[in-house]
Symmetry: C2
Subunit: 405 residues, 2 copies
């Protein structure tokens, strides 16, 4: 009897944790494991806003896949997934295809247009290493051009962040640190630069404790970040945005709109005939596609309900990582046929948002944290993920140690 073939599509939080846990749980003779990923590196999506702002180099955010997989147990294929053929049990890539007995889909998110005209054409998205270092360079390029033009263009110095949720706020915090440095580099007055967060809700960071939100606003406003709430983004062009507030339309000139307000699951699932809502599959208790017993879905492509709130859990690295652990265990159970699969139960340990410059806030184990303690906990949590992925060595190599900042 040949070994069962496990194919893992995508080396994000969900897919890569599935891979590294599975390689520990089973022997090389028990299954053939193949990981497919577009790049030869994994990256920490939750750190990308720092790369996009230019406050942390992207090499600190990415991890070579060969450094965390066990080549004796896992084959790595660098290719881009284009389609899943569940009936043929095949994964199609740009340069080949793989047949599987079990497939793990961890293909991540992609931007959704949300009916905003021009959004997908003109807004930048903090999505990948490529897109994040492009945002960094795009901002810097505009600053570099500014003083070379006779007619000074404010759109080169205005930065609009679409969405005051978690990513938008964290990105704003890093920009608050980066902008003064860019001003120095390109001989531009700080007062000429505007960073504006446009948020449709009545407040930024909806769902957070009001005291925490106020703390974040104070921290960011004191460093020059502007906020427009109850403001609905209507249109994005190459050099402006339009938002509607209290029935009036406002235009802001900007060459840099960064969309941080919502995403959908990878469209490959829909294109492959999966039953999706916003690109996400409402998975079974053990993270499988309801229509295909042999397909697990982890991370941002998987929707799971929060029974307490009656709404799906937001897509987070924390949950994607936990899904990876669960998925690896369940794959072991299926291969060994020793036990049933286990229900996935997310455990929300806390939520911490960094605000840039060593500031942070959030909730850990039900306790509100502000400033340095929050920052220390945030970095500890980042380092914990690295430990789970690659042990002490990876923490030392890629960890965040500037906790006194």
């Amino acid at each position: 009897m040949s070994k069962p073939k496990i194919v893992i599509a995508g080396a994000g939080y969900g897919g890569l944790i599935t891979t590294v846990k599975l390689q520990k749980l089973i022997g090389a003779d028990e299954a053939s494991i193949t990981l497919v990923n577009k790049h030869d590196y994994h990256y920490q999506t939750t750190w990308l806003h720092e790369n996009a702002a230019g406050t942390r180099h992207h090499d600190q955010t990415r991890i070579a896949i060969k450094d965390v997989i066990d080549a004796k147990k896992v084959n790595f294929v660098q290719d881009t997934v284009t389609k899943i053929k569940p009936d043929e049990k095949k994964l199609v890539m740009e340069n080949g295809e793989l047949s599987y007995d079990y497939l793990v889909v961890g293909l991540g998110f992609e931007p959704a247009n949300f009916g905003i005209e021009g959004l997908l054409d003109h807004a930048y998205i903090i999505r990948s290493i490529n897109s994040s270092r492009l945002i960094r360079e795009h901002i810097e390029h505009n600053f570099a051009v500014y003083n070379n033009e006779k007619e000074k263009k404010e759109e080169r110095l205005n930065i609009v962040i679409g969405g005051g949720g978690f990513t938008g706020i964290e990105f704003a915090g890093e920009l608050a640190e980066r902008v003064p440095k860019l001003c120095k580099e390109y001989d531009i007055d700080r007062d000429k630069v505007r960073v504006i967060v446009v948020e449709a809700g009545a407040s930024v960071m909806m769902g957070f404790d009001p005291q925490l939100v106020e703390y974040a606003l104070n921290s960011l406003e004191s460093r020059g970040i502007e906020f427009q709430t109850n403001a609905f983004l209507k249109e994005v062009t190459a050099d402006s945005i339009v938002y509607e507030k209290a029935g009036e339309r406002h235009t802001v000139k900007t060459n840099t709109t960064v969309w941080a307000a919502g995403v959908k699951g990878n469209s490959i699932l829909e294109e492959s005939g999966f039953d999706v809502n916003r690109g996400k599959v409402m998975v079974t208790e053990d993270l499988r596609d309801p229509n295909h017993d042999d397909i697990f879905i982890v991370g941002d492509c998987a929707a799971i309900m929060n029974e307490e709130t009656g709404k799906p859990f937001p897509p987070t690295a924390q949950i994607a990582t936990q899904m990876g652990f669960n998925c690896a265990q369940n794959l072991k159970a299926l291969i060994r046929k020793e036990s049933n699969t286990q229900k996935f139960v997310p455990e929300i340990k806390g939520t911490l948002a960094s605000l840039g410059g060593g500031d942070a806030m959030g909730v850990v184990m039900g306790k509100k944290l502000f400033g340095k303690p929050a920052n220390v906990m945030k970095k500890a949590s980042d380092n914990r993920y690295l430990y789970q992925l690659g042990g002490v060595g990876l923490v030392l190599k890629k960890g965040k140690f500037n906790i006194f900042g």
Copy 2:
């Protein structure tokens, strides 16, 4: 009797050396000296190609004017000169005007189009701190975009240097060092990047000893620089150039054309009614405008004949600096009415071209130098200028000491 008013327009090599020497030669009660410059800093034009390539930070290339002028003797006005009114003895600036008894014009060069279509609109020029850091950022921005586009565009990675003279070759040498670093930063194969020098002459570095030229070509070609000689640039667009060679037209896709093949004097002179050729005034023996005894012209706006060759001396930092010394002496002579002005006699000590990565070549005191000795001499010469301008302190602050590179 009121003190004579000396106004120095432009703080380039010629104007700034005139200022710092004059403040040493005369007492505060002998003349009122005013230096006018667009920026509050001086920069070393001969280092700008390094800033443009990104191998040296522009802060190393610029020097705060307040650090080298004696505020007790020299007034500094930060403004942009727009016109000279010789009949009224006035210098007009964007935000005011100054009357003078003696004017020193050191307004530098500007690009000339040389009949090449689109050159002034689309080519980048290594001209100032602003333009050089823009070139650095423009190249980097194109590298950053490259991997974010589905259809890969070679024009983002092709860099064309128009002109294989001194600046073109020095810039190519720095790019040869910078490109591999950019490739690493943006995950691009070095083989995909082309740097092409397009030269109208039969050889690059015309006028240099053939052995030196061959040395330079070997050094640069071994690091991936391409050369097209007998190639006449005909047209520059935003994403291409056309050159003609042996009767055929060739197109190279590129978003980055850097023009390094020739300049003219500042057009303010022509617009102010001076008698110019390519924007330059053929000055008198003591560097004055033939039509105005009270106006000295130094640096790239002044043409002086090389009697040995029958052609004007090329505009160089070396000559501009020597003009500054001469001009300061002559101003002192005129103010004190003690002696006649002295004829300006350029003294060409040598010419050294850096080739990037610690390589260099050139002639010093009639002796050919290659590689490390040339590099050491080149840096010594750069440091000597700093010493002349601001003493040991300035050498320590802004000097080039990586002579073992």
